[in-house]
């Protein structure tokens, strides 16, 4: 077990280094620079070079990379070129929007998808089961921003129940913040639920045909009972993996939802920072997300080791 943990952790560190190099190179080979954006169309030619030098962007790339990584190791994520604010402060502003959005979306997806997927699996072949399966098929086919815009039109404009978009900070009003999150969380959660319910259905269907469920049923348990007592625990294992993998996709989904609902979240910060070529902000923010996903994966893997002894041996 200790060896397994040590190996897993070594990989985690190596992966962080590799992805930092990847992220750095990716944004640095992008054309355009922050000075060009800041100074705009009426910039004096020599002003660009001066500004680049002032921002330290004229140094060799390896130096800039080491500077960035060194800063991160000391807990300094760098500063925005345009406002001089620290990236850490920017993240602190953005996380109270993005984290509840992502967690809420994931929770809603699980809450909807697990029962529905399980139900669809037990009723596979019946009209209801087929309907649920089809509904999730159609749900998957709907682009997420379309779902968002429609929800906003219906509940925001038509019924006037909820804000169409925008953000009320937690500090101003907790209920306001919750209200501005309801529609985005719903849009994100529903689209993810469509995907997740298919996974659930598949996993449960598989488990239902496993020998231990059959044995349980043969020993007199009802189908549902057998499923609850033996099946779900086993089906939960691949689901843990899916949840881990969906974490990355969930964050991707928030980019679009934050744009549709004008939420000042992490994803929109990255979007606008990419277009302004705020390279340090992009690098550090993406790195934070990647690190988060990797930590989730690390936890999932460790959980696997705990839940399923075979994994420990295999690795």
């Amino acid at each position: 077990m200790l060896v397994f943990l040590a190996r897993r952790f070594t990989f985690f560190v190596l992966a962080l280094i590799a992805s930092s190099i990847l992220i750095f190179s990716l944004i640095r080979i992008a054309g355009g620079n922050v000075a060009a954006v800041m100074l705009g169309k009426a910039a004096r030619p020599e002003a660009i070079d001066e500004l680049m030098a002032e921002l330290g962007l004229d140094r060799p790339l390896p130096v800039q990379y080491l500077d960035w990584v060194g800063g991160m190791l000391r807990g300094d994520l760098g500063t925005s070129f345009r406002t001089g604010e620290s990236v850490t402060a920017l993240l602190v502003d953005r996380l109270p929007v993005s984290v509840p959005l992502a967690l809420g979306g994931m929770a809603l997806a699980l809450l909807v998808a697990l029962p529905i997927g399980t139900y669809a699996a037990t009723k596979a072949g019946s009209p209801i089961g087929t309907f649920v399966a089809m509904a999730s098929q159609v749900g998957i086919a709907v682009p997420v921003f379309w779902a968002g815009v429609l929800l906003s039109l219906f509940f925001g404009v038509r019924l006037g129940w909820l804000p169409t978009g925008g953000w009320t900070p937690w500090s101003t009003s907790v209920s306001g913040a919750v209200q501005s999150l309801i529609l985005p969380v719903t849009a994100l959660g529903m689209v993810m639920a469509a995907t997740l319910s298919r996974y659930t259905r598949t996993s449960v269907l598989d488990v239902m045909n496993e020998d231990y469920v059959r044995t349980a049923r043969a020993s007199g348990m009802t189908r549902g009972g057998a499923l609850m007592r033996v099946g779900l625990r086993n089906a939960s294992l691949p689901l843990v993996t899916v949840v881990g993998l969906l974490a990355a996709e969930l964050i991707g989904g928030t980019v679009i939802i934050e744009e549709v609902f004008s939420l000042p979240g992490l994803a929109r910060m990255i979007l606008s920072s990419v277009s302004a070529r705020e390279v340090i902000v992009v690098q550090s923010a993406v790195m934070v997300i990647v690190a988060f996903v990797m930590v989730v994966n690390l936890i999932v893997d460790v959980l696997y080791g705990v839940l399923d002894p075979r994994v420990r041996v295999a690795r």
Partner: protein, 530 residues
């Protein structure tokens, strides 16, 4: 038997599900509504009373986040809209008739030979309570003189020295008379800030204006409240929030849902919806030339084949300006023009599509191209991909160019790459592009070939006329010379004007006191009241 049954049920379920999705869609669509179909509440009259009227508050919508508030080294429209006039003020201001009025400077004196300007400062404080000193003014002007933004630094071209003669007097010495200097003192080039707060200008700019910036949350909002130190009449609105909503549909939704009271600057891609979806009935649709922008095509004369004036003139004749007006379906928003001045430009003369040296004529353009050996010539059209205001015109322009028999390859770039390739390339690397901005034509001047930029036209004749105009002793002389300069630009078809786009905004009908922008495109809050 069982198998067949299951198959039937499967099909039924598919049908039912698809039907369900369609129903949801129809329900939601009824919401956004095409009010011409649903003449219930929307066409009945104006929007309901705003929730914020009683509290003397106002919520405005902006599509773009400035990202920084440093107005000295950024010329982003998203910033110019809100800061000048509200938070920071120029030394003086020019009213609608072009007459100078006091600002931070209470009075001024101009020497006989028009080379010495003496400004007497108002006895007032910045919003942080610190007094406005001559040193602050000298600092502010010098900072702008050194601004990396060429148009901000331009009025200082003839300036020899800027000095504080005493606590409340600043003297500017010119090396020659300059019209643009005095004009510049009423604009972005003369915004006054305290030297002590220079370090926080990007997030917390301080000024003497009627409002003070309370909070700037990037990608979310800017909030303003009354500046207790303001020297003028206290404004009526106690709090103004500018909410940043990047998605046009979401912005209109917020307005419709009563979450905001005005949408002061609306991009052309949304114009049509203002009338077809009835926003113009519920809100006051205000168009204002002063907040507008020129839309023009630029040819890169440093690159073959665009150095050929015959080619440029022939291509200019392919631009069908009326097609733009038709395509936007918002004749109230833009006028076809061949001139370079907006209505608020001092030397503005009325122009239309008919006053062009190369008016629209497909046959003539095609024949000229044929004759000059350019039929089937491959052009590179560089367009900005992420600005709807420009990608829509680009769609039209490319089709129009193709219509006279040239090949067009479109090179769509995002703003950062566009800025690097086009604005900052020396010489610039592009063929044809379309741009839109409110800056005066002095930006097209080109003192020498090495400075050749993306919109500069290095014609000694034009540059000379502009210099003479600047040094003019009288306003009349200045205007006449500027007109001559713009005629040169027009004849040579380097920068071809297409449209004068008005500023377009939606305002709550109960909101009074709207005033046209004075500093480029600024939206002033001070006179607004419920």
């Amino acid at each position: 038997m069982i198998r067949q049954q299951a198959r039937r049920m499967g099909r039924g379920a598919i049908g039912a599900t698809l039907g369900g999705v369609l129903l949801l869609f129809i329900a939601a669509c009824g919401a956004g509504g095409d009010p011409s179909d649903t003449p219930d509440e929307s066409t009945g009259g104006a929007a309901p009373t705003s929730d914020r009227a009683a509290e003397n508050k106002l919520v405005l919508i902006a599509l773009q986040d400035p990202g920084t508030l440093d107005y000295v080294s950024n010329n982003l429209t998203a910033l110019i809209l809100w800061l000048p006039g509200n938070v920071v003020e120029p030394l003086i201001s020019f009213n609608g008739d072009g007459e100078p009025e006091p600002g931070v400077a209470e009075s001024w004196e101009i020497s006989e030979d028009q080379t010495t300007y003496t400004f007497t400062l108002r006895e007032t404080n910045f919003s942080n309570g610190e007094p406005v000193t001559a040193a602050d003014v000298v600092y502010s002007l010098t900072t702008m003189q050194e601004s990396p933004i060429a148009t901000y630094a331009a009025p200082y071209e003839a300036v020899a020295s800027i000095e504080a003669t005493d606590e409340r007097t600043v003297t500017v010495q010119l090396s020659r008379p300059s019209q643009s200097f005095f004009r510049g003192m009423g604009g972005m080039s003369a915004l006054i800030q305290p030297e002590a707060s220079a370090g926080t200008i990007a997030t917390d700019p301080i000024g003497t204006g009627p409002y003070v910036l309370d909070e700037y949350v990037t990608d979310s909002r800017l909030t303003f409240s009354i500046n207790p130190e303001y020297w003028g009449e206290m404004p009526s609105l106690e709090e103004v929030e500018v909410r940043i909503i990047p998605d046009g549909t979401a912005a209109l939704n917020a307005l419709r849902a009563g979450e905001a009271d005005a949408f002061p600057v609306i991009t052309i891609d949304l114009w049509e919806r203002l009338t077809t979806e009835g926003y113009g009935d519920d809100f006051n649709l205000i168009t204002y030339p002063q907040g507008g922008e020129m839309l023009y095509v630029t040819f890169n004369t440093t690159q073959a084949p665009y150095e050929d004036v015959e080619l440029r003139r022939a291509l200019a004749a392919s631009f069908d300006r009326q097609q733009f007006i038709d395509a936007f379906n918002a004749p109230w928003g833009a006028t076809a023009t061949c001139g370079y001045g907006l209505e608020n430009t001092p030397w503005y003369t009325e122009e239309s599509a008919d006053t062009c040296p190369a008016p629209f004529d497909v046959e003539a353009a095609a024949a000229d191209l044929q004759a000059a050996g350019y039929a089937g010539e491959a052009l590179e059209f560089t367009s900005l991909s992420d600005v709807a205001d420009l990608s829509l015109p680009a769609d039209l322009l490319i089709a129009q160019l193709q219509g006279v028999g040239v090949e067009v390859e479109r090179n769509a770039l995002d703003l950062a790459r566009y800025a690097q390739v086009i604005f900052q390339g020396r010489p610039p690397q592009f063929g044809v592009t379309v741009m839109s901005d409110p800056a005066p034509i002095t930006q097209f001047a080109c003192p020498d070939e090495s400075q050749m930029g993306w919109t500069t036209y290095c014609s000694p004749e034009m540059t000379d006329l502009m210099n003479q105009a600047d040094a003019a002793q009288s306003v009349e002389e200045y205007e006449a010379l500027m007109n001559q300069a713009s005629d040169v630009l027009k004849e040579d078809a380097v920068i071809v004007p297409l449209l004068a786009k008005s500023g377009v905004g939606l305002w709550h009908p109960d909101l009074q006191g709207w005033q046209e922008p004075q500093i480029l495109v600024d939206i002033q809050f001070a006179n607004l009241h419920w």
